[in-house]
Amino acid sequence: MSHESKIIIKDFSFYYASVQALQNINFNIPPKEIFTVFGPARSGKTTLLKSMNRLTDLTFGTRYTGAIFLDGMDIYDPKVDLTQLRRRIGMVFDLPTPLPMSIFDNIAYGPKLSGTNRRNRMDEIVEKALRSAVLWEEVKDRLHTSALRLSGGQQQRLCIARVLALEPEVLLLDEPCSGLDPISTASIEETLFKLKKDYTIILVPHNIQQASRVADRAGFFLNGELVEEGPVYQIFTKPKDKRTEDYVTGRFG
């Protein structure tokens, strides 16, 4: 079973102090597909994503029960090297967050952390990452200018490239297109199609339309609970649970 699924989430519950954000989540994520985690606001989607790369560890007073397995390894095992984990599972946030450095330094930031230092190696890494994120052509002549000068869409693709430079296996994308114009959104969605050939992608979509456009499988989250999950066409056209149907048809939002 474990080599069929990239990520297995088993009986996972998560608490911020006394508030329960996720209730007993159970599902599997197949490799090299786009799995979309959708639902109304405050349903625990971001918490779920941040639990997968243990970014939730940064917050004080959090608790969890259950387990999350990456390729059969329990990511909450104390022996796990957090740095390694976060390189295998990369994250792109909902607001473009370029670091206050040059484009080159932004991309090189991750690899440099692990000691990759030689100049020519770094040049290769940066170019490869920017090409994968479909940003190379636009910035190849100004790699050493500040990343803050890029447009919103370019910045977000920079964030994707930044993650790709570490050659992860999984990509967590939390509303990567929020705040972007339709053209930038389309180009990022196109990038995602290219990326899923090599990466397992978990996407919190900006809206349901994006989810149905882009994803292979979908999971509907409501108030911290996974209501149902399955192939995208099934969830959106023939949902099994009434709550899913109500949300997908727009009866609540």
């Binding site: 790369n53 970014l55 940064l58 004080f60 957090l82 740095t83 390694q84 976060r86 390189r87 990369g90 994250m91 946030f93 607001l95 967050t97 670091l99 206050p100 930031y109 991750g110 952390l113 692990s114 964030c159 930044r162 993650v163 570490l166």
Partner: protein, 280 residues
């Protein structure tokens, strides 16, 4: 109608008095600066800065005091800045608000209120006597380091606080450890603010007299090592004035003192403006 007029009369009088007060404040300050600069600037020839005091300060220049002040200040910064910045990093990056952090802040606030003469007594007992450093640049510098610590801690904390949380999140999500995040993202961004705090501390160190006179001594001889006793500019100024040795030299030293402090403070203000504008 009469009642109305009284209200506005009161307001008018109050506003006039307030304007007078504000103008008086600035006026007196300018008066003080002007007086000393007027008498002192003529004394500031090049040789004033390049010669050491002769005849107990009646003649010559203030070179040994400038050197003494500079080295003492460097010692104070070299010791005080890492301690202060380290404290700020710990408070902002490694703990949250707790009994311990409140205690540390309370200690820092109290330290900020300790008068310089008490620091002088402390430095004398601890550095000069108990640690056997004698009256020296080292004793003076370490004492001043303790005095500037609160300033550096609070400016460093403010600067670190201003770095957006998202930068830290990004660094962690790319596999960065806390320390890597601090050194590669937080500190570089906070550097202008930290530097401003250091600059302000330099100004304070230059003007500090009570603590220095009890720990660094008052020797006019050019210092040769960190253990040499030394007379800083402000101490020299004080001695010249109080002993009435030479009014001319006193004015000159005072003018030099004011100029150094002014330049440093203007630089710090300029940095603050540039830094704040840069942030927004």
């Amino acid at each position: 109608m009469i009642i109305n007029r009284t209200r506005y009369l009161t307001q008018g009088v109050a506003k006039i008095l307030i304007w007078l007060g504000a103008l008086l404040t600035i006026g007196v300050m300018l008066l003080i600066l002007f007086q000393i600069l007027k008498e002192g600037l003529p004394v500031l020839h090049l040789h004033f800065f390049l010669e050491s005091p002769k005849e107990m300060g009646r003649e010559g220049g203030i070179l040994s005091t400038i050197v003494g002040t500079a080295v003492l200040t460097v010692v104070a910064i070299v010791v005080g800045a890492p301690l202060g910045v380290g404290t700020a990093i710990f408070l902002r990056e490694y703990t949250r608000e707790s009994k311990m952090s409140r205690m540390i802040r309370f200690g820092t606030d109290c330290l900020a209120g300790v008068p310089s003469i008490i620091f002088g007594l402390f430095g004398f007992v601890f550095f000069v006597i108990k640690l056997n450093m004698g009256w020296s640049i080292l004793s003076g510098g370490l004492t001043v380091a303790a005095m500037i610590l609160p300033t550096i801690i609070s400016t460093a904390e403010e600067s670190i606080k201003a770095i957006p949380y998202s930068y830290r999140e990004v660094s962690h999500s790319l596999g960065g450890t806390k320390w890597q995040t601090v050194t590669r993202v937080v500190l570089p961004g906070a550097l202008p603010g930290i530097f401003t705090g250091i600059l302000l501390s330099v100004g304070r160190s230059i003007g500090e007299t009570a603590a220095v006179i009890l720990t660094a001594g008052s020797s006019l001889v050019m210092p040769t090592s960190l253990f040499s006793p030394v007379r800083t500019m402000s101490v020299h100024f004080y001695i010249l004035a109080r002993e009435g040795i030479s009014m001319e030299m006193a004015y000159g030293t005072g003018a030099a003192l004011i100029l150094f402090v002014l330049i440093i403070n203007v630089m710090a203000q300029w940095l603050i403006n540039r830094y704040i504008r840069h942030r927004t």
